[in-house]
Amino acid sequence: MSRPRPTRRELLLGGLSAAGGLLLTGCRYDLPPTYGNILRMGDALTYAAHRTLLPTRALAREYSRADVSSFPAIGTTDPGNAALPTFNPAYGETYAKLRHGGFADWRIEVAGRVARPGTYSLAALQQMPSRTQITRHMCEEGWTAIAEWTGVPLAHVLRAAGTLPSARYVTFETFDWWRDNIDMVDALHPQTILAYAMNGRPLPVPHGGPVRQRVETQIGYKSLKFLRRIYVHDEFDDLGKDGSIANGWSWYAGI
């Protein structure tokens, strides 16, 4: 029985994967899936190049208090407001109730490949070691803004939950039903924090209160607002129709 001849697309994909494999020999990184889409192949090449050529622990520039700037709030600016087009019935009403109670009953869930899954209140997060950083937010649209963020390093939360050695990705779910994930390199980066304060005040709702993600080595859309759940896993998850890939966006946004 003869094997069917590979199509041109299969040859191209195979070649690219082989090139990626060569690039990544000895590294801990897997390329995100491309689904035969040439744009996603370019994204995968950028990801491979960044993970291979850039230092993984280098800090994004931190600024002084005098550099703090005005800061637009875009996308979902209040998950609990049913009048806004961004309202999602799945968690919108829950969020509105939590906000009404000053987020005293807000909890973030940490689940998946961790030894001690559980939930943390805002007060519990605030009792953990904190990091304050004045950093630049770079939006994919092209604008930038500088703010001071205070929060608990994600690395600390993951350590507290006991991330299993096989874990390689962290997925975030939000109250406006956004889902996205990052690899362990960005998850364990010292500046990746769960921020609960902005410019020394409780994180305002339009900017993702009570707790948002800050991933300073990637473009703004990877810093999810209104966090609800953190899920640790071993294999890459494209998150189906909720994922950035199905919506036509690059999963990796370091550029």
Partner: protein, 245 residues
């Protein structure tokens, strides 16, 4: 030294891959700029801070869809926050990925071209003006000829005039490398690893503005290049750059 009469194969191949990449970069770059058609200087720039230039190139130009600003700190002149209420034009999902794909193509082709040019002596023989060639008088005469559109007939190979050499060398050795560096300066991952880029270009928004200005120069160069190709014998030039005749 004998001058080869024809464009070599690697020059022709890199020329066309480069040309296609530049076309895709210009289109996708314009689409990206349409999402936020404001340019700034320094590290910060957004709809709540003053712009250097606002370009009327998309529905997002001066859209007024913002809630009343609220202060983010105490005291007068404090930075503010406002929420966007306007559904903006944004095709950056494919725009950005296409831009970076074409950037990869141009960067790899450019690297191959630079290597080929150095190894073969193409740069020193054809692109960089020879000793004594670059004089004010010579430059002035060529410039005057070009302004009057008195263009020499094409010879089908890299026997370039002085103005042509200067234009090609400036694009290859200055403009294109700077577009790559200013582009990389907009990457948060790259500037975390190489913060010197932020220092050199004076911030990510300065880099973005310089990036745009360089591409304006590049588009003007391409238009002038096409005009010169047409005036010096379009069919002859196309034969020279495709089949190498």
């Amino acid at each position: 030294m004998p001058v080869p009469l024809h464009h070599t194969r690697w020059v022709r191949v890199t020329h066309w891959i480069g040309a296609l990449s530049v076309l895709v970069l210009v289109v996708s770059g314009f689409v990206i700029l349409m999402a936020h058609p404001r340019l700034y200087w320094g590290h910060v720039g957004n709809d709540l801070t003053p712009a250097l230039v606002e370009l009327p190139i998309s529905p997002n130009y001066r859209h007024g869809g913002w809630t009343t600003p609220t202060p983010l700190a105490d005291g007068p002149g404090a930075p503010v926050s406002a929420s966007r209420t306007f559904g903006i034009f944004n095709k950056n999902g494919w725009g950005r990925s296409l831009h970076f794909l074409a950037a990869w193509a141009l960067a790899l082709t450019g690297a191959a071209y630079l290597l080929g040019g150095l190894r073969s002596g193409h740069f020193t023989r054809h692109l960089i003006p020879r000793r004594g060639e670059l004089t004010a008088g010579h430059f002035g005469r060529e410039l005057a000829d070009h302004i009057r559109l008195r263009i020499r007939r094409a010879t089908g190979g890299p026997q370039y005039g002085l103005l042509q050499k200067c234009a090609y060398a400036a694009i290859v050795f200055v403009v294109l490398p700077l577009t790559a560096l200013t582009g990389l300066t907009m990457s948060p991952a790259v500037t975390a690893g190489f913060p010197i880029l932020l220092t050199v270009f004076g911030g990510v928004q300065s880099a973005r503005t310089i990036h745009f200005a360089l591409w304006c120069v590049l588009v003007l160069f391409v238009l002038a290049h096409l005009l010169m190709v047409a005036l010096s014998g379009f069919a002859r030039q196309m034969r020279a750059m495709t089949i190498g005749d």
